[in-house]
Amino acid sequence: MIHLRERSAQEIRADFPIFARPTSRGKRLVYLDSAATSQKPQSVIDALDTYYREYNANIHRGVYEIAAHATEAFEAARARVARFINCAPGELVWTRNTTESINLVAYAWGHANVHAGDTILLTELEHHSNLVPWQLLAQRTGATVRFIPIDERGMLVLDGIDRLLEGCKILSIAHVGNTLGTIQPLDTIIPRARAAGALVVVDGAQAAPHLPVDVAALDCDFYAFSAHKMLGPTGIGALYGRRSLLESMPPFLSGGDMIRTVAYDRTTFNEPPWKFEAGTSNIADAIAFGSAIDYLADVGLGWIREHEKRITRYALERLMTLAAHGLVVYGPKNPNHTGGVLSFNLGDVHAHDVASILDTEGVCVRAGHHCTMPLMEKMGWHSTARASFYLYNTEEDVDALALALEKAARIFKL
C-alpha cells in the first residue's frame, strides 16, 4: 500500500462534506456510529456523480464508447478491491452487502455440500447476518449449528475447539465482533478448522474497514464485506472466494450476465466471478467502492488501525472518569484486542434514552441489541449503547461524547 503522507484526523475530516453541516440544533456533528455505516468522502460522492453524468451505460455488452468506459471502470474497481484484500480479481464477486455474500455461500455452496447430520460451527458473538443464513441452511438440510463459546469478557473459549471441529462442514466466524469489537484469533482458529476439513467463511464487515486484511495469509475459503462501512456507498458488497470453489460450486441467483450460452432447455454458465453476478450489477456503487478503496489505501490501513487504537484508549480513559455516575464499559477494554468499538451503559438509564440525550448534543451512537440478540441474552444485557470510531474521529469527538454523557447523568440524577 502506498503511503503518500501522514495526515491528521482533522485533515481527513475536511474531506467528508457531512461534517461541514451543523445538526438542526446547531451542534457539531459527532459521528460515533461507523460500525453501522461510515460517512463518505467527497471523492466517493464524485465517483457516483461522474458515472451518472458522464458515462452511464450498461456493462459487458455495449459496443459504444461510454459502455466500454463503464465496463472498464467497473472491472478496474473490482481489481482495486481485490488487491486491497490480496486476492485475484477473478476471486472477487460483487454482492449487495456482507449479508448477501454470506447468503451466497450458504445457498450455493451449502446447498450442494451440506447434508443431514453435518455440523456448521459459529461463535456465540455473531451478528444475525452470520447466524440466520446458517440456521436456515441447517433447517433445509438437517444439519446442526454449534457455537464456539465466549467467556464473561466476550473472548472466545478455544479449549474445546478441536472437539467442536470434529466432522464440522463449515466454520463461519466474524473477523471482528460488531457489539464488543473483539478481534478474533483467526491465525489460531483457521489452520485448525482447515486441518479438520471444514470450509472457512469469514464475516469481515467490521474488519475490512479497519485492519489490513490479507485473505491469502488468512487462508480462508470465503471472506465477506460491505462497501458502506468502509467509506463506500450502500448497496454494494463483495465476497472473496477461493477460485477452485467458485469454479466448482453451482450459481446462486441466475439470469442475464451470468451465462455463457442459453438454449430453451439448457444453460452453460459464465466463469467466476460473473457466474455469481446475475442481472445488471450495481455499476455506479461498485465504481465508487473502488474510489473508497483508493482513499483508504492513500491514508493507509496501518495508520487507521493505530489511530483507532489511540482514540479508543483515550475514550476508555475519558469514560472511566464517569464511573462514579454508573458508567460501565463492556468487553475486553484493551485496544490491542478490539477494533474501535465501545459498548456501554449509564447506570439504570436505558441505552435508547442515553442515545436520545446524546443526540441533543449532536453525538450519534447506536443503542439496542446491535443485531446480536443471542449474545445480549447470554451476557444478561438488555441493551447497550455503542460508540464506534473511524479515521475521521478526533479526541474532540470523544470529549463531546463524555460531556453529553455527563448531561445524561445530570438529567437522570445519577
Binding site: D353, S356, T360, G368, H382, S383, I411
Partner: protein, 130 residues
C-alpha cells in the same frame, strides 16, 4: 427531546405504577418493540359489567416506554373495556404532556398497542400509524 425527561416521567420510570402481574387476568397481551427489543405485557381484570377494574404491566424498556405504560395503566383502570379498545394515541400524548420525537414514537406507543391488543383480542395497529 431533553425536555421529555421531566421529573414525573423519571418518577414513573423508576417507580412504575401497577407494575407486576394479576392472579387471574380476564385478558392479557404481550408485544415487542422491534426497534429496541423492549417487551411490555399488560394484564387486565374486567368485571361482569365490562369495566376494567385492575391493570398490571410488566416488561423492561426505556424511560419513554416504561413511563408511558405506567401512566396508561392509571388511565385505563375504571374504563369500559370497549373504550380501552378504541383508545387513540392522544391518551399517551396527554399523559406525557410534551412532544415525543418521531424516532421514539414507537417506544411511547408500545404500552398502548399492548393494552389495545388485550382489549380487542387480536393484534392492534401501532397507534401512531392509525
Amino acid at each position: 427531546m431533553e425536555d421529555f425527561y421531566r421529573d414525573y416521567i423519571l418518577d414513573h420510570y423508576r417507580n412504575p405504577r401497577n407494575f407486576g402481574h394479576l392472579e387471574n387476568p380476564t385478558v392479557s397481551a404481550e408485544e415487542l418493540n422491534p426497534l429496541c427489543g423492549d417487551v411490555i405485557r399488560m394484564e387486565l381484570r374486567v368485571d361482569g359489567d365490562g369495566i376494567v377494574r385492575d391493570v398490571r404491566f410488566s416488561g423492561k424498556g426505556c424511560a419513554i416506554s416504561q413511563a408511558s405504560a405506567s401512566m396508561l395503566t392509571e388511565s385505563a383502570i375504571g374504563m369500559p373495556l370497549e373504550a380501552v379498545a378504541r383508545l387513540s394515541k392522544d391518551v399517551v400524548l396527554e399523559n406525557v404532556g410534551i412532544g415525543i420525537s418521531p424516532t421514539r414514537m414507537k417506544c411511547a406507543m408500545l404500552g398502548l398497542r399492548v393494552l389495545k391488543t388485550a382489549a380487542i383480542g387480536s393484534l392492534a395497529a401501532w397507534p401512531d400509524e392509525e
